[in-house]
Symmetry: C2
Subunit: 242 residues, 2 copies
């Protein structure tokens, strides 16, 4: 019997799925989970995800680390670094600890912890293959959990769920309309993800490009440029060797 | 300035949108909103939607009416009629009052009432044109509210939202990724909605076809065969003349 795969298109739908018996993949393409794999790929020691800005500042006082965070697409007040993968070059982040809080991605990660998820990893296009290889190898139930935007379903996280499904569907039972919808969307978009986001006037594309962050968007939609697997363990995201 | 159009893919997401300033379109293609327009089209005096089976039975004792309801795709215990549009022929329903409760559709309608929706109508493929004509004429904000299946996003309600968007998008601001996703899905499926549901192994298709209800599904996906506009007013769904 194959394990099951479900897609939760919004954090407000996560409670409908049984996280206790599943690997939960946290998906926040623009930009938390793209930045997380990038920082680890570039040698960050580990990442401490936190769910609010004051806690992030507090960590900064207690340990030697880089504190970073974003609210509504901009660097959060009181923090020095933001949520752009381009901030976390090897020169800057190698050997350092990153403490990170974001509007949607880290909040969803904390929801998955509270719901007792069996395992938690993070995924985005820059580590698509690492995610798929891991999920196929584990032969365990999966929930693809989209971070969305303040609970509103978004295109980019749905596209990433679709990309994963496209690659691993033969290994899972897919009795889940949301997964079929995600896979359909990805199949329409896959030849030109950025162009698709532009044509569909994706709300987050619009928001970030308004801040001059088109380069970030292009990076976050590029496959396997930071192909490591961030794995949540005892309060930290670390690289999981497969 | 054009009015806005949003799509809520699940009742669990409805709170994200401002129902007070919008026409809320209740969408439960399989089968509540298909059956509602069919019964009215065939001459039902009006329909009283109720949110639970005991209340439905209670109405049956108090007024002369047909009590009908469905739970998990079958006729609910204690009620004589179910949720199939084929039960409500002109011969049977003309001039009668129908009291109806369903798993998802009537529950969502009650949520919309509680949220203070400015206006509530119901939509499905059998009354697609009536819905679109009304929404274009009103020039008011719109929420396309999918009933889903126990809060899980489903294909058929998403497809209907996409069909509406496909026809009326030029009249509205569409700053809503869920609407874009629905429109994309519909565009992929529109030449053969039933075949699409089969190919995607839509969970509700699977459920109903297991009960021998393929004919119902085919009907519920057919445009404009019961093209009236059910409008909610003072506890009743009645035909709104446009």
């Amino acid at each position: 019997m194959k394990p099951t795969l479900y897609t939760s298109l919004s954090p407000a739908l996560l409670h409908l799925y049984n996280a206790r018996s599943a690997i939960v993949v946290i998906i926040d393409v623009l930009r938390a989970t793209s930045t997380i794999c990038t920082a680890l790929y570039n040698g960050a020691k580990y990442i401490i995800p936190v769910d609010n800005v004051p806690r992030c500042i507090e960590w900064g006082k207690q340990i030697e680390c880089v504190t970073a965070g974003e609210r509504d697409g901009r660097i959060a007040e009181g923090l020095e670094h933001g949520n752009s993968p381009y901030e976390y070059s090897r020169e800057f982040i190698a050997g350092k600890t990153l403490v990170l809080t974001t509007t949607n991605g880290t909040r969803l990660l904390y929801m998955a912890i509270e719901k007792g998820a069996a395992k938690i990893i993070t995924g985005s296009f820059p580590n698509l293959s690492a995610v798929c290889d891991y999920l196929i190898a584990q032969q365990h139930n999966v929930i693809l959990a989209c971070a969305a935007w303040k609970d509103k379903v978004n295109i980019e996280d749905t596209l990433f769920a679709g990309a994963v499904i496209d690659r691993i569907k033969d290994h899972f039972l897919l009795d889940c309309d949301a997964s079929q919808i995600a896979a359909s969307l990805y199949n329409e978009a896959k030849d030109d993800l950025l162009g698709f986001m532009q044509r569909k006037n994706a709300s987050h594309y619009h928001r970030l490009s308004g801040y001059g962050l088109e380069k970030d968007i292009q990076y976050c939609l590029t496959e396997d440029v930071a192909n490591v697997l961030p794995f949540y363990e005892e309060g930290k995201l670390i690289i999981r060797k497969q």
